[in-house]
Symmetry: C2
């Protein structure tokens, strides 16, 4: 946390900004490869954009207030409602499927937890207007490539996949009635965190019978083994839904990401939100929170913005990904970016350096020189401190007119050059 900044908000000093830019750069590269185009919306939106989707409870977690025009507004906690609003306004004119991405900064008023941030940046990639599972495969492939682009492999990251439609069919098949589905989902969601007897107790309280309870736990385990799972699916009469999922998995194979993907029915995510395949990306060691989560939300756009289009998307935050990249040594150190330092000797002045700097900058080089008036020795020290790749010295008594001395800073190698010719070759 930074002195003077609000708790939960980050200052990005140049080193941290360079890391942020590295992450954003990788994300934009992958989005481009997948044909996604960037959009953005306002960081401040009408409050009801969020309560419409998530109910009034969400307000507790928002930065919301009444503006000077008496409007109820909130800093955006997520991007999907803005996406829904924007797509709805131009849905007819847009080529489908829409492939859009954005990297918004999002805000949540999390109750005080040590080190918990109240803002983060999140890559959002969404496909709007395609109901087929090939879109689901395309989406998860892009999320996985957003790992590969940073040099992460499937030994670093696992993609866990579930399918809301298949799971519903399985749960019904093992005897969980519609009104108990919520309790079943809640138990699945806590499978890794709470002991089995606690979960059993909760399911019993919710009215789930002992036979469906036992089969629920079997079901969650069975996903790891394809033939066990196929039997369960047959028994539950969920073959049609399973065929869809298998087609999806075959597509991930064709897209070269199958070996990152693991079927895991305990991936639940937003209950009221997702309608089909859902997925999360985790670090393989299980030490961090989820890197990414998303899935298909075919009914959400209509409920939010009034346009009925199938859609799917994911969000990937910068914080957990940054932690993972640093932990795996994949975050490059901020390299000195200065191409040339220009220094002048006693036969010149700062303007001697300025003229050279202007010419080099016109050729796209990054250039600094000592502002004010400094002795050459001090200028050379400053060149070192700046991490310049090379220093060009002009206007010393040893140099004839039009000459300069170029020093490679890495090894100190020096070379006398004709200044203009050297600039032209830079």
């Amino acid at each position: 946390m930074s002195p003077g900044a609000l708790p939960g908000f980050r200052d990005f000093y140049p080193t941290e900004l360079a890391e942020r830019s590295f992450i954003f750069g990788g994300w934009r590269e992958v989005a481009r490869e997948y044909g996604f185009v960037e959009y953005d919306g306002p960081p401040l939106e009408p409050l009801d954009l969020y309560t419409k989707k998530s109910g009034a409870e969400i307000v507790d977690q928002l930065y919301n207030f009444t503006d000077k025009g008496k409007r109820e507004v909130a800093l955006r906690p997520e991007m999907t409602p803005t996406l829904a609003r924007m797509v709805a306004a131009r849905a007819n004119a847009m080529r489908k499927p829409v492939r859009w991405f954005s990297i918004p900064q999002l805000f949540r008023y999390e109750r005080a937890q040590r080190g918990r941030l109240r803002e983060h940046f999140q890559l959002n990639m969404d496909i709007v207007g395609e109901a087929d599972v090939s879109a689901d495969a395309e989406l998860i492939a892009s999320a996985i490539d957003a790992m590969r682009v940073f040099g992460l492999t499937n030994e670093d990251v696992v993609a866990r996949v579930s399918d809301r439609r298949l799971l519903n069919a399985l749960l019904r098949g093992i005897g969980v009635p519609e009104q108990q589905l919520g309790a079943a989902y809640a138990a699945l969601d806590k499978l890794d965190r709470d002991p089995r007897d606690v979960l059993e107790q909760r399911l019993e309280t919710a009215g789930v019978g002992s036979e469906p309870r036992a089969r629920l736990f079997e079901l969650a385990r069975a996903a790891a083994n394809e033939s066990d799972f196929a039997r369960l699916v047959r028994d539950a009469g969920a073959s049609a839904e399973y065929d869809e999922l298998r087609r999806y998995l075959a597509h991930t194979e064709a897209l070269g990401v199958r070996d990152w993907v693991r079927l895991d029915l305990s991936i639940v995510r937003g209950l009221a939100y997702y309608t089909g395949i859902v997925f999360e990306l985790f670090d393989a060691k299980g030490e961090l929170r989820a890197i990414c989560g998303g899935g298909r939300y075919d009914t959400l756009l209509e409920s939010l913005g009034g346009v009925s289009l199938p859609a799917l998307g994911f969000g990937m935050g910068d914080v957990v990904l940054g932690e993972l990249l640093r932990a795996r040594g994949k975050m490059p150190p901020a390299a000195p970016a200065l191409d040339v330092w220009v220094a002048y000797g006693e036969s010149g002045s700062v303007e001697s350096a300025m003229r050279v700097a202007a010419k080099l900058r016109a050729r796209g080089r990054s250039v600094e020189y000592a502002l004010g008036h400094q002795k050459l020795a001090r200028q050379l020290k400053a060149a070192h401190a700046a991490g310049a790749r090379q220093t060009v010295v002009v206007a010393t008594p040893e140099l004839s007119d039009g000459e300069a001395m170029v020093r490679r800073m890495a090894d100190g190698g020096e070379q006398k050059v004709q200044l203009d010719a050297w600039i032209a070759s830079e």
Copy 2:
């Protein structure tokens, strides 16, 4: 304005986002050439960060509220207070001069004016820790190069420069006492907008005598003519201050931007804020609001953050610059960015396209294909609509194993290729 967005807030659809990225890209290029490194701070800050600098009146123009932790907070209306806070926290550890830039989104609750925005993005470039005028020259050169990078010339944009120290000396020299300097500045500021008799009246009301009033107007005009101006300066006993300004102008010559710069004593800017050279960039036709404004504020950091360092900087908004670029035909149309569309014929399936897409993306190409299941003719239509540079067709009965047909979309030229060899050459 966008339907559903708050008044004064912009939605950035892909076309507008591409324009924004074009502007940000140019800005980052110039900042890099000048050795500036990027930083950022939180968009939400403690309210008193702004009232400390601008007084309680500023609150009327802010998006401010009380957060759920009872903190008084505001969406940032400008970046300098954040810069001051961040620099103060690490001032000792930083190499001086600090060359920092940022592109924050800024927020002001402007009272309802048609089409007036309540947010914009602003390039901020600041130099901290250098009192010499060479830093002032370096700064304005970077602002001017932020015009040149977009193809604008000094026929499009004028930089108007004044010097707070020189002006103070001149005003004192022509008989404006200290306590009337504010009134004199206010008159200069309105020189182009209000009729002379109105200004005279105001100056008289403020107690400025008739002799100083007459010389004030003479002074403002005289800046256009160097020998007139030199005489005025001598008469006013402001030669030392004028020498500094002339050194600055000579530096702008060395930096290759002198022919953009015009001395103009009516450039006033924030009264309590600036301490030396100030400048603004305007479109030469005078049709738009200022493109950029800045100057030296040597006492501000201390008054804000407790660190006494000379400093100077400018802010350049994205809105007026965008208007100018569009008016001068310098805003490039959003080009189709898709390298390859992959289509498949009746001997294949969507997975045939997926395999090719994955290979091309691994080589950094941007690739789309038709999701779901579509006839080849429809896929080719989609390739056109997507603006793909080329289309590669696989799995038609006419193609042997490993073959593909590549079509350049610009001229329809087709070529049968060995798929893997073609991918490797892409």
